[in-house]
Amino acid sequence: MGIVSPLGLGLEHNWSRLVAGENGFGRISSFDPSDLPAHVAGEVPAGPTGTGGLTLSDWVPVKDQKKMDRFIHLGLVAATEAVEDSGWKPQTEEDRCRTGVMIGSGIGGLQTIYDASITVHEGRARRLSPFFIPSALINLVSGHVSIKYGFKGPNHSVVTACATGVHAIGDASRLIMLGDADVMVAGGAEAAVCPLGIAGFSSARALSTAFNATPEKASRPWDRDRDGFVMGEGAGIVVLEEYEHAKARGAKIYGEVVGYGMSGDAYHITAPAEGHEGAYRAMQAAVRSAGIDVADIGYVNAHGTSTMADDLELEAVERLFGDAAGKVAMSSTKSAIGHLLGAAGAVEAIFSILAIRDNVAPPTLNLDNPSRESAIDRVAHEAQRRKIDIALSNSFGFGGTNASVILRRV
């Protein structure tokens, strides 16, 4: 597994900072946000390799960097960590052909498209880089990972806005179940902390604007003072493998994808349906496919974006758990890293796996005054040590698309 997020680079670095209650927010530094309503974001910190900071030239050769938008850079960094961590280095042509990639993004190369538009607008279309299109295309993270490692199996990508990461992991695991591949590198990457991205989500009234002077307080899922999400950038990548295949080679196994559920709201382009009934059906489908008892789920990593929709998700989760609601812990790790859009579901599924590994529920920061009470423990402020054998992770996207994945200790 591999993560690059506003908390930094590296799986264990991210996890230890997350469990310690740290956050990755600040005033936007990659451009001057003064003209925009939202000034806060979670940006991947620069810094020497090995300290949790990003030095891009250590991961992507300088001459190749200009051929890729930043979301591809971040995807490659996380994919490199994940593939190295998995120890999977196919030596035969057959093994390479049985290894695929399915890495998505919610938006793709937004900054690259912005820059190219200006070039064309200025009448310099003939000066447009030949790398513009492959730099902006969403499936090019999958393309670059396959080229780097020689993975010749299914090469696919997912684009379902903020549900992308969960869909990628769920769909990739289904490809393995269907026999299309033995190993799939899956996840999501996003780098939309750019003027167009912040302006666009601001116009949709989706971003927090009330905490520009106190960035660490801006992302506050379920809190009564929440006023929108905080955008984050990064990537989360996992290596999925058919169980017997992994066992036979003595692979390090973090956990198992046991359930996956999807649904559509058929309701509104940005707002969730009443009672988040689409989310309820996605979770229900995931539980059904896992063949487990809901009460056995010890931890839920909520979509919980720090918007008005938080309470709708809460309602759906309460409905799912029924009498067992008092036993489960649910937190939103977006309170520490923000909303990574197409990468969110993948990073959060990884956090869910680590929650199982360490029997720790990571905290929901800034949950000072819940906008409503619930029997569900939302792990306010501090991580909790709890018995967690099964975890559920939710991601929902614009367009009314919902995805839930269930993970279990092996």
Partner: protein, 79 residues
């Protein structure tokens, strides 16, 4: 070496990320310097920009080595 040759060499080093010593006049962009077809398109654009010249597509297709580029640009500049 002419000023043009120096500048061409610098652009090649920058765009292809190769060592300066490898950028000899005879070096082929694709065979010796690791460029692909998109890299060569970008290189030609960089030459056009840096030297304020137009390199039409049929001429660009014939620029395969460092010397080809230098010769073409020198001829344009002399004209």
């Amino acid at each position: 070496m002419s000023e043009i040759a120096d500048k061409v060499k610098k652009i090649v080093v920058e765009h292809l990320g190769v060592e300066e010593s490898k950028v000899t006049p005879e070096a082929s962009f694709i065979d010796d310097l690791g460029a692909d077809s998109l890299d060569t398109v970008e290189l030609v654009m960089a030459f056009e920009e840096a030297f304020s010249v137009e390199i039409p597509e049929d001429a660009a297709e014939k620029i395969a080595t460092v010397k080809d580029a230098i010769d073409y640009i020198e001829k344009q500049k002399a004209a």
